[in-house]
């Protein structure tokens, strides 16, 4: 349930549905979730709310599809193996190729991009050997070469950033 393809029907401009407390929750806790017995209670105290309210907010954010999960982001290099990959496929058959990619074990991102290499995905695995096996297997099923671009050095690898709420209101 945590790893579905984003539903293209799903509304994307959910920002307007979020009130001040939702926004403070997101702004304050993309990192730094307390590791204590009742973390949502601690958050509630800091935000001037109640534990039940914070839990309800998180559940609602999840239902709206705004929140993927509450939890850790693991360092790919330490948590296992991962690799950015791309394939160049005929635009008309892109959806079918994307489906094959999504069906492969370990794929956690899969985007269409504006380039000859028009499908970009991240393949993950418990270790390097398994990663290569997964890529080789997928390559055979796709019938096109996979461009394999492992990370060599990370200069900034933390996808959390300030949400431009005001700009989203206008969008």
């Amino acid at each position: 349930m945590h790893c579905q393809a984003p539903n293209s029907q799903a509304p994307t401009h959910q920002a307007r549905k979020l009130d001040a407390l939702d926004r403070r929750l997101i702004d304050s806790y993309q990192r730094g979730l307390p590791v204590c017995t009742r973390p949502f209670h601690t958050i509630a105290e800091r935000l001037g709310s109640s534990e039940a309210e914070i839990i309800a907010r998180l559940e609602r954010l999840q239902a709206l599809g705004v929140l993927s999960r509450v939890g850790p982001v693991f360092d790919h290099a330490r948590a296992g193996a991962s690799l950015l990959a791309a394939v160049a496929v005929p635009e008309a058959e892109r959806d079918a190729f994307a489906e094959l990619i999504n069906a492969a074990p370990g794929v956690n991102h899969n985007y269409a991009r504006e380039h000859d290499f028009n499908l970009w995905f991240v393949m993950t695995a418990p270790d390097e050997t398994e990663l290569v096996a997964r890529l080789d297997g997928l390559e055979a099923r796709l019938g096109v070469p996979i461009l394999r671009l492992p990370m060599l050095e990370g200069y900034h690898i933390d996808l959390s950033f300030p949400i431009p709420w005001a700009e989203l209101e206008r969008a």
Binding site: A5, P6, S8, T12, H13, Q14, A15, L25, I26, R31, G32, L33, P34, V35, C36, T37, I55, L61, G65, V66, L67, S68, R69, V70, G71, P72, V73, F74, D75, H76, R78, A79, A81, S82, L84, G106, V107, N108, N110, Y111, A112, R113, H115, F117, W120, T124, P126, L149, P150, L152, E153, G154, Y155, H156, I157, D158, F161, P162, P164, L168
Partner: protein, 189 residues
């Protein structure tokens, strides 16, 4: 890096959790830790005692779970812990992967400078794959709208003097999948 929050959080963890009661009398097995990691990849249960719930599922004690998580944070296995937001659903729909062809001797310097830009959310060096792929530096810029992201990039190129570097912007046109990594082997979680 945004270390302020991390430090604040480390302090909170030290005072707000189990305390030094010595409740943990033995270390959890490697097997239990692997189960815990698999569970964590799916996110915390949204209840009053999420660590206890995870502990029950992983076959560990609550304080062992918290100790594990703190250790993984300290050693860098966990980069951040908190709300993982789906930016697209918030309307942050312009997602540009900017790829650069930087002379090898300059790539680390350019990468570090790009990483300091607030608009840049990720920045990596990757191998070239010639002749198809000459680009060795990647960064991501997200924004509500395409024009805004293009303006941000133009501003960065101008200020950092990167106009001489060959680069391309690959906007995403569709997200087929967007979710957290699954590193624990099937059946191990």
């Amino acid at each position: 890096m945004k270390t302020t929050n991390d430090l604040e959080f480390a302090a909170t963890g030290a005072t707000g959790a189990t305390g030094a009661t010595g409740a943990t009398c033995h270390a959890p097995s490697a097997e239990a830790e692997r189960r815990l990691r698999g569970l964590l990849e799916q996110g915390l249960p949204l209840d009053q005692r999420p660590w206890r719930t995870l502990a029950e599922q992983a076959g560990m004690a609550e304080d062992q779970v918290m100790t594990c998580v703190r250790r993984w944070q300290a050693d860098g296995m966990i980069k951040r812990l908190g709300l993982v937001v789906k930016h697209r659903r918030l309307g942050i729909q312009a997602n540009a992967m900017v790829v650069w062809n930087v002379p090898d001797e300059r790539v680390a310097e350019v990468g570090r400078r790009l990483a300091r830009e607030t608009a840049v959310t990720l920045c990596y060096r990757r191998p070239r794959r010639l002749p198809d792929w000459p680009y060795n530096l990647f960064c991501m810029i997200h924004g509500a709208r395409r024009e805004r992201v293009e303006a941000e990039l133009a501003d960065i190129v101008e200020r950092l003097g990167l106009g001489g570097l060959e680069h391309r912007v690959l906007f995403s046109t569709h997200a087929y999948r967007q979710c957290g990594g699954r590193y624990v082997r099937e059946g191990e979680a």
